[in-house]
Assembly symmetry: D2
Homo-oligomer: 360 residues x 4
């Protein structure tokens, strides 16, 4: 499903390059689209780099989830960074020329969740590149309230992936970490970021579990203490042995895999926490009595990022040098290599891939 190039690209001052899900079918198209309009509270950003999320792969492939959620035509993309090109009349947070990225959960500010301080759980949330036009384009428009101004010392390839890194920070820091022991199931980019956050935050042990040896080696590079291959290693006994039989104090689920739900509870100490971020593709069977109730476990559904508590802490971890996520960024490509990036990611041969603007 290579990205298709339209036959007669239009070029004008009011149009821009973009990648689009043009129809309810697999694939994406390169298009020339109108530059999006911005209202008085909006910020228009010239995108300089973006990254492809697992969600974007679902949109490319047009699986059941995508078919039920996405309304073509849609420009996908929610992991990005750029430069403010213009601001609406009421915007005060940023000005043209500022380097920014965005909290991609566009929240209403008025629902019960928003008004109680939980905008990341907004009942009317619109996700950038899913429910509204996204960032795989020359320009993207974001409400001021969703813009995050970048510190000058944050490099562009890291700025482009604040969204998934924020997921990892939110998940890892959803409970105490220092001097405690953890297991992370799923060593894709977010799992690997979370391992880095846990270790930076004083986790005494992090066991990393995956079935992809390349990902396990990224986990190791991020500081995991114990790398376990779900098919080759006996995960439960190995983790119990590494914790004097006590089990881990926390389990981070980043895979969505049924096996992780099965093993993850078995290695949890009584009273431990389970933080769920990975999205299972369908309902799962859970032995609620044994795994949750008798264990006294606390199971947290994790969604988005605290707005902006997660962001401040993420920035501080990065700037202080406590957290180094560069090992996970295995490729920095250009926008013209979008198809290759999709293929690399699909094949499991990459960590995080950042794509930089390579046209004027």
């Amino acid at each position: 499903m290579p990205v298709q190039t339209p036959k007669e690209p239009l070029v004008s001052q009011d149009t821009m390059w973009a990648i689009e899900k043009s129809a309810a079918a697999p694939g994406l198209s390169r298009i020339t689209a109108p530059i999006p309009k911005a209202g008085p509270k909006d910020v228009r950003i010239r995108v300089t780099a973006f990254a492809i999320c697992g969600t974007d792969l679902h949109i490319v492939e047009w699986d059941d989830w995508a078919a039920s959620r996405i309304k073509p035509p849609l420009i996908p993309g929610h992991e990005f960074t750029g430069i403010v090109e213009s601001v609406g009349s009421e915007v005060t947070l940023v000005k043209p020329g500022d380097r920014v990225t965005a909290e991609t959960h566009i929240y209403c500010g008025l629902c019960y969740a928003c008004r109680r301080g939980l905008p990341h759980l907004c009942q009317n949330v619109l996700i950038l590149g899913v429910d509204r036009q996204g960032a795989f384009a020359d320009y993207v428009v974001i409400p001021e309230q969703n813009v995050w101004k970048l510190h000058p010392d944050i490099p562009e390839e890291i700025a482009a992936i604040h969204d998934p890194l924020g997921n990892a920070v939110h998940t890892a820091l959803a409970g105490p970490v220092a001097g405690l022991r953890f297991a992370v199931f799923g060593c894709g980019p977010i799992g690997c970021f979370a391992i880095g956050v846990l270790k930076a935050s004083g986790a005494a042990l992090v066991a990393a579990i995956d079935k992809n040896p390349m990902r396990l080696s990224l986990a190791e590079a991020m500081g995991a203490d114990l790398m376990l291959h779900v098919e080759r290693d006996a995960v439960v006994p190995a983790v119990l042995a590494a914790t004097e039989g006590r089990g881990v104090d926390g389990m981070l689920e980043m895979s969505g895999s049924p096996g992780a739900f099965r093993d993850g509870f078995e290695i949890l100490a009584n009273g431990g926490r389970v933080s769920l971020l990975g999205i299972p593709s369908k309902p799962l069977e859970i032995d609620v009595a044994r795994e949750i109730i008798f264990r006294g476990a606390t199971v947290q559904g994790i969604n988005g990022r605290w707005i902006y508590d997660t962001w401040y802490r993420m920035e501080a971890l990065l700037l202080s040098g406590k957290l180094n996520i560069k090992p996970v960024i295995t490729h920095v490509l250009g926008w013209s290599e979008f198809d290759r990036a999709v293929e690399l990611q699909r094949s499991g041969k990459a960590g995080k891939i950042v794509l930089r603007r390579d046209h004027p």
Copy 2:
């Protein structure tokens, strides 16, 4: 399966009346047993009243759970009250003549959970009447650390059921309550107690859900604002209508029923808490993505009672008159009516039944 009376009861100063699971089969026997010995840290209690828990019914019926856990011969019974008859040489908390009941999770005090302040989640827990000799007897022996001295104003029939009432207090108070809205699935005695605790603690709305009209009427007597019959009422729309579509802030699961897990999440506001106490009889299918992750829910496994934070708060709620659980105690019988009590409870025609000593 009536309780059987042994043909030649022994009577002596060293023996006592008791009810026993004598063999790995349905039923219980009335026996004459040796009075249990007490060590230097133990308290021997003359039982004056007890109650029959759902766990005890499993033991009577000898279902799969009972067969896998119980090692006959065993005297069951863990909900009780009595008078201290004697204390070991090192006991200082109580003295003979004191009215007491007990925390029935006999914890080791030395495991990882115990030493971290979570003795209710002790890894080596022995439950009274399940893993060691229980209270369906003239005398029971309890370690001092598990004894709770009763305030003189607590009536005996309430003293006898501090164990299940404590479960309800623990579950209800596992998060903020005042000014929030709740649903309670399952209106057996613990569910009804929890309704009372929620209302005493400032819950603005409590929806009670069950399939037994008698239980729903007990829920109403305990203060529930909305009684819903799972088969006759449309639970989800009714709760959403009563909460302006927001859903409830908290859901207490006291039924163990798969339907409660299905409906309970559907009516949960984003960011809400789910406190699980009811024991499902087998693994359940849960749509983790939809119900827990996207909702940002926190799901808590609740076990036992905080030792003794729950107890102090329970006592204070009772003594202050904030919490009145008498409506749930539908029957006060004598020990000689044990069979009738089992039948009443099994048939769902009773709330809580307290049985008082009716022999010398």
Copy 3:
């Protein structure tokens, strides 16, 4: 210092009645002022009732605090209710005709505190009637983000005092309440409201402490269990006696009085919480080692209200009937009786006074 009436009141479509601190001196003036202009994100409200806060008395009297903070000319007033008269072009939360009140901490939304979910602690906060034009007037303008739409069942005199009631809810619910015991120092309106919130939320005991017998009788009407007069009663022994020597689990400081800081810690159980809302007029001496450190106390500075978690819970407590604050509203007067209201309040002969519009 009666409110002065200007000699030649102007009357026109663009002007309104208001009460103003016209100069840096004691007293207030009745004036004719321009009706305030509203921007696209603002809501203009026709005020129907307001109340006088202790802060307003400081402004009337022009004490040191007022002189350092207030920049005349200023229309004071931040406790009020009214009807939406018009809305800016971007407002969606309310429409003309809606009954409303307001969160009076106008927060910037962009500072570190705001962006971390603590807008009530905004570093750039502007308080209505203190830092910007207030509600002692026919009309007041409020940003949409600060407007609270009232439920139809909330009566006007209660709607007018959501601001101080919200302080009380915030303070009382700043930690666990149900089944715990409390002392409240200071039984002015907010102290009395807090007593009502504590009792509605399951507090097992509330000791109320003041030096004004009328206020102590209001405290009793709100449900306090023990009324102590600081000059006639021995506060510390009385509270210890009422708690079996354990002390209270929580202390709410609503008086700002040095004596409350001295006695309040002495009656606090180890590990207890102290929630401070009352503003001491000058620095206080605290025996930090004895009172805070060895006691393991947690001392919370309470400011404003959680936006809007406090508001939802306040509304739910009121609508459910759990919380009845009418005993504290000792007077309902008209705006023309403003001087009398100030005098009543100053003299300590009133609880809360609500003033209703009594001109067209």
Copy 4:
């Protein structure tokens, strides 16, 4: 005030070497004392190393606090490690030959604080070497519940100072740390340990404040990012400059100095936490309105260590290599050098001094 040697030391199987506060006056004596007896729940430990706490210096100097608290004769000393020599008949946690140290707050287990899970705030606490015979001796007796069994990889000089290190862990981890910024006032051993714990736990910035350059250099060795001398540096502007004017998220008070209370709040971000461990020698004046209430600060009194949550996390931080406290241990001496150790510590020329047994 050198330690005095008794003229005719007794030597026998039942006696031991010890250091004693023999009379209500300055100084300590070397004595021959009876080896302490142990009950059935006790553990007798052959001390192999100990350290001198600030508390011990007060006892040596016999200041007001010591005179009011200590009842001579008393063997001081509560920071120590050793080998189990014998155990009481009911002890199961350890056996002779085990390496151990101790939680030195001997808690009753029966008071309101203990029974609510706060034994570190026990109302009847007896502190080793303060309220009962301590560890500056060949042998010390500890109840089993207070014994901590050491991991074989913990070196002896670190084992000897688990008590103050635990204070630091308790204080530092009394709130979130990762990605946040802190100031630590007071860089004695506990302050320096706390700096190490904060940095190991992901603190993005730690400002260390003291007036002793040697201590500031230890703080730097432990990872502090900013070292400020209270007399030479402008502490408040320096910290604000290092935090873009936001202030720190947390302040740890380890000095007991009035200046720290003054400056510490000034640099605290709104909503920040203040954790107080340092003991001021007398009551302090605090501008409660400005510093605590308007700031929305949370001020925590910290006492002892969580039993044993703090201990498990401390051990895990040490064993994982996350926390290295060796830079703070500036001297390892022998027991015969006790006088020199006291002098070094008094003069502020040492960090932590560990004293090893140097007689058979």
